[in-house]
């Protein structure tokens, strides 16, 4: 049973960044803009979040407050970076895939350069510890307490809150309805007086905000608050794209898809704790491939049924009806 709790406790900090970034991708793509740039946006957010933590880690402050502030910085920087995509893809009507790829390529290089210049290292290394041994009161709830409120990070709780907010925005608000219309049939949205360009900027901006936060949370929950220009976010931005597709561009399903991938990854890193898997004597490296192999397999099997937003990837042009 303790192995089970261990897996859950270790899975959630991994699942949350995937979840948030995939939700970001969902907002962008359901508004009609393909967002390949998630990897770059994540890294950009992670970098500035970590830079903020690095700068203020000497100040006497509750680490959780520092984390919240870092999250805001990461959100704003992710948003700013995403504006490049919005500008190119929406205003300038550039090819969204190419724009996204170039945004992805720029960031790791920029981080390496910046870190070499100022820290003489490949990234930023922070000393702050955000780990929460147990949350007062809540951790005493039977079962749930141990699953969600012990040996965890604040990121997990924020992640769940953001998931719920996302679902409400997406399905229950006027904004969500209009956003989804723009990704399916922008001409229809335009004909009833909705500003398609504005909605697409909004969609991409949300993906920037969630992507930035996701990147920072990855740095906090997976890398102990560090960022490196070499390993970046280890393909989590692309994994989040897979999660989004596996989740059919729907928030609820994306949540489960994120848990699935995070579970595989956690499992891969916990092989030595599970006697059965350990006994098989397979090299750990193979297990570490699991989430990535699963991505390929799952996408191969689900892509036939998956239904992408109809108008995604097509720049909206008012004059073409």
């Amino acid at each position: 049973m303790s192995t089970f709790y261990y897996l859950i406790q270790n899975m959630l900090p991994v699942a949350i960044p995937l979840l948030l970034v995939a939700l970001g991708g969902m907002f962008s793509e359901r508004s009609g803009v393909v967002n390949i740039a998630l990897e770059g946006i994540m890294l950009f957010g992670a970098f500035f979040g970590a830079l903020f933590v690095y700068t203020f880690q000497g100040v006497d402050m509750n680490p959780q407050v520092l984390l919240l502030l870092g999250m805001l910085i990461a959100a704003v920087s992710g948003w700013i970076y995403s504006l490049l995509l919005s500008f190119a893809a929406v205003t300038m009507k550039a090819d969204q895939t190419i724009t996204g790829v170039s945004l992805n390529m720029m960031i790791p290089a920029a981080i390496l350069l910046f870190s070499k210049m100022f820290f003489n290292s490949d990234g930023i290394t922070t000393t702050k510890n955000f780990y929460i041994r147990e949350v007062p009161v809540l951790s005493n709830i039977p079962i749930l307490g141990e699953m969600f409120f012990q040996r965890t990070y604040l990121t997990v709780m924020i992640g769940f809150v953001l998931l719920i907010i996302s679902i409400i925005i997406f399905y229950k608000t006027r904004f969500g309805l209009r956003l989804r219309a723009c990704g399916e049939h922008p001409q229809a949205a335009d004909s009833v007086g909705i500003n398609v360009y504005f909605m697409r900027y909004a969609g991409v901006s949300l993906s920037g905000i969630l992507g930035g936060i996701g990147g920072f949370f990855y740095s906090v929950g997976v890398l102990d608050g560090n960022v490196s220009g070499h390993t970046g976010v280890a393909g989590f931005g692309f994994l989040a794209l897979a999660v989004m597709i596996f989740g059919q561009w729907k928030p609820g399903k994306i949540f489960f898809a994120a848990l699935f991938f995070a579970f595989l990854r956690t499992l891969a890193y916990s092989v030595s704790l599970i006697p059965f898997l350990d006994g098989l004597g397979i090299d750990q490296t193979y297990y570490k491939m699991l989430p990535y192999v699963a991505t390929m397999v799952v996408l191969a099997f689900t892509s036939k049924k998956s239904r992408a937003p109809k108008a995604e990837g097509i720049p909206y042009d008012k004059s073409q009806r």
């Binding site: 309805l177 989804r180 229809a188 335009d190 007086g193």
Partner: protein
Amino acid sequence: MENYIVEMLGITKEFPGIIANDNITLNLKKGEVHALLGENGAGKSTLMSVLFGLYQAEKGEIRKNGQVVKINNPNDANALGIGMVHQHFKLVEIFTVLENIILGVEPNTMGFLEKNEARKKVVELSEKYGLSIKPDALIEDISVGMQQRVEILKMLYRENEILIFDEPTAVLTPQEIKELLGIMRGFANEGKSILFITHKLNEIMDVADRCTVLRKGKYIGTVDVKTTNKEELSRMMVGRDISFSVDKKPAEPKEVVLSVKNVTVASKHHKNNAVRNVTFDVRAGEIVCLAGIDGNGQTEFVSALTGLDKMVEGSVTLCGKDISKASVRERSVSGMSHIPEDRHKHGLVLDYTLEENMVLQRYWQPEFQNKGFLKFDAIRKYAENLIERFDVRSGQGPITVVRSMSGGNQQKAIIAREIDKNHELLVAVQPTRGLDVGAIEYIHKQLVERRDAGKGVLLVSLELEEVMNVSDRILVMYEGEIVGELDPKTTNVQELGLYMSGAKRNTVKEIDNAG
């Protein structure tokens, strides 16, 4: 001086290289159905887009109830009570009917949707006008006719009083058309004003009070429908006399060209077969028409016949050669020409030039290529020849990108290609869909000419008039089966309608001995 609810005075709208509307005037009375008639490209849709705020006119003014108004976008139009049902529906497929109706004017508190009130209003409107709409059905699950009703409900929900219908009947079955015209009449009787874009004269005679005719972007005139007739309207529209009956001699069927035996085709949408056990022959020198209401298996049958899809059972023989399993090209080479139902999807590569499209079936023949390299001179010459012979009009001749051509000329290009290539059988699927009377007349002439040249013609059509006028023999398809064989000389539209709706059927007989 009469009181008009909307006046469009001296409207001029230019696009690069073309004047779409040249000093056009249109006056709409309150409570009338006003038809706007013209050929494809006459400027009807442009004029209505100006009224709906999608385009801004360079010259001219719009008045509502005598007041000059500026309409810069659909929101302005909506605020003035102007609504529009577009030719291509503006509906989000994965949304429910209700969501589509409220989109843009969502009832909400603090941005949160309040659907219940809206649902009540939609249901009330639907009941009041007999539209039988289910508010929570998904658009992708309902028929095209129902989708159009959603568009109508969108206007009613916004309490529009001026309703624009842009070619609303093009996508409907005869039954649905009748219902729609009834609904439009009902609106007019209630005091709403209707603008009805069409190029179908029968519909104008049926429902409209007055009719304004445009030709090549110019205003020709406005007439009272009661005091005019189809001939006069068509003369105004086309600028010359049009014959509605198709001129043809009695058919002289000869040997069997196409023999279809027990063909069964699976459906893509449900478990049952879309086409069941279809057997018939087409002889050289006759036009056989496959009639039926849309969605009764015609599309699937043609896909199987032309090799686009596989059949489950049965055989197809063309000129004595079994082609049941042949590829599309083998069928083409064996003498089958095909004018497809969807000319954009299966007929043309829209972003290719006209000349490239002209040799799509033949580019691999030695005439047009040498060791894999295309002979551009030969292709150009061939295309120029076809363009001249078939009077295909385009901006830049052979190098025109096909997407920029009008529907009628795109269709002419396909016909030119399919007729000029070696063929014994011509399969024409709804060849006149969406075309104006001038183009229809031309296409019917071509079909009859093929017949007289001793080829077999299989025409698949949804238009009753076309079925009656063009064919020598009618096969009616209903729910995937041939339910009757009729002679157009001895039957009438009513009887044909009964067969098409499944109310009547004669026992399936051997059709081999027909003719």
